[in-house]
Symmetry: C2
Subunit: 333 residues, 2 copies
């Protein structure tokens, strides 16, 4: 190829690359699984308001913080929280070595799969179940237990791995926010060390960007090796009024956007949206019994009552899962 | 200009830009305030080992985590911790409204500036002083109190603002690590909300990347406004064996490099350097009475004894401040 031919080939390449980059019509919709409607429009309008340097509501990237609940907001929480399914499997696996567990009502209910008793127990009632299944090992050992369980456990209805039962529209929303300079955090009532082993791979959220409930941990030298051990004692419950406290402790800034689905997210949404400047609150309303589940005011898991009323009063966006989402889960591999 | 002339001018520009980018000799030394010597060489060798994709010790950027103590490692801690100077100023300012404080030995010592009693009290003895000066307001109000104090308070010897008395070589080290894909965290015994108001501006470290000691915080609705209040109760002491616990809680991964200067950093250095793969531990040894301070085994603040012995045994790098640092502080504005 002569000089001119080469130059013109390079020019053609440049033009076509620039064309690809600068033609918005050609780009795929980053929220492709969201139907056009008020929820999608509200998200897009908010992101434009805070990220457009010409906007009076512009927010610098370091303050563009978005917080997401996990159970029921990013992944399935029915027929029970995934972490509870994990604890039940663990307790049944360990029970043969612990005949004394049958003397404790909540542990007996767990061993026998008595879901009614478990659902009625509430967070405090389940504490003992968490302690016997989540404590007594190093964080690294617990990480492996969680990873191994998630690699094989299947959801009873969908017959898929739990980490496949994440909401495709929310995965797109996480990526869309990050592409627009946001930092995305999980702020969940779930265990911080139950989530961290897999959130980077599944959601693109690093361990340091996961806030959750925790048990106490102790540092000690064991035969000359520095060791952390998980203790059977509650450290922090990151739910309800605990969520703004967890946000303050871990993030140290008030978020500008919060995404939840239950009354446990109420205070996080209140705290986030009460700040000055542009703010965004969103509730995922589970309205799709055919493709997922339909539940709200009377559900044990993901109870949504006060926060649904607050959403109307506070002008938070409510996602109607059935109407707003084209698909629920990523396609099966 | 004709076509060929323009093309050749563009080519010349391209060549000169590429030349600038690829000629390492032309770039300024990112560690310019470090004298050539074993400490600087060890830092450079470690960074190359973990960030060169061809290295057998390559570490992916998401795992390239470096943790820094603050007092005595990034800024001055003599003649007393800056936060203690802050608490003493606060207690003197508030004392007229609290005549009852003179009935408490540690508060009387604070009001009277009895440093000997204060230094002997230790962290637990100082708890009451922290409570009366650090609690009872919102995090936002405390943020303003800290910011206002730092804007005017002066170091008694150097007659400069405390935020000017940061170590220039360590500022360069923070920037050098970040330029090589590291995320830099503070892990300090100091108060997390005493540091967060200024660490981004001074060190380039975001609030979420600051780990420290904390008091408890409560969420409540006050006249319809979601409010956080700082309570007079210890939440977490991020010192000594608390540092690996704080790292695990906030970062959720074991760092690959740790930087400290006192026995309070021993466990953080042990925990960091005991991990698999390339690891780096460094102790800043204060050896320069003329330009800063010289202290170690007998000092009340920044006591360095066991960790200095451990550095020799564990092959951690020890910075001899007098020999290794060309300058101590950034130039006065």
């Amino acid at each position: 190829m002569g000089f001119l031919a080469r130059a013109s080939a390079i020019a053609a390449l440049l033009v076509s690359s620039l064309g690809l980059l600068s033609s918005p019509g050609a780009a795929a919709d980053p929220l492709a699984s969201w139907n056009e409607g008020p929820a999608k429009a509200a998200i897009q309008a908010f992101v434009k308001r805070v990220s457009d340097p010409g906007s009076t509501d512009f927010v610098a990237p370091a303050q563009r913080i978005a917080v997401f609940d996990n159970d029921g907001t990013l992944w399935v929480e029915q027929p029970m929280y995934t972490q509870l399914a994990f604890a039940l499997d663990r307790v049944r696996e360990l029970a043969p070595q612990h005949p004394e567990w049958r003397g404790t009502p909540i542990l007996r209910a767990a061993i026998e799969g008595d879901l009614k008793t478990l659902a009625a127990a509430g967070a405090e009632g389940l504490a003992e179940l968490v302690m016997v299944t989540h404590a007594g090992m190093t964080p690294a050992a617990f990480h492996k237990i969680v990873t191994d369980w998630l690699a094989t456990a299947e959801h009873p209805r969908f017959k898929r791995k739990y980490t496949d039962l994440v909401y495709q529209p929310m995965l797109e929303l996480l990526a869309y926010l990050r592409a627009n300079g946001f930092t995305t955090y999980i702020v969940s009532g779930g265990g911080i060390e139950f989530m961290r082993p897999w959130t980077e791979k599944v959601y693109g959220i690093l361990p340091a960007q996961v806030v959750g409930s925790s048990i106490k941990t102790k540092f000690e030298m064991v035969d000359g090796t520095p060791t952390l051990v998980r203790l059977p004692a509650v450290n922090f419950i990151d739910d309800g009024a605990g969520k703004p406290v967890g946000i303050n402790q871990h993030i140290g800034q008030r978020p500008i956007a919060a995404f939840g689905n239950s009354d446990g997210d109420l205070e996080m949404l209140q705290w986030t949206t009460a700040g000055a400047g542009a703010r965004f609150g969103l509730i995922v309303h589970h309205t799709d019994a055919a493709r997922e589940y339909a539940y709200d005011r009377t559900s044990s898991f993901g109870h949504l009552d006060t926060a649904l009323d607050a959403a109307a009063a506070q002008n938070w966006t409510v996602v109607d899962m059935k109407a707003d989402w084209k698909t629920i889960f990523p396609p099966a591999p």
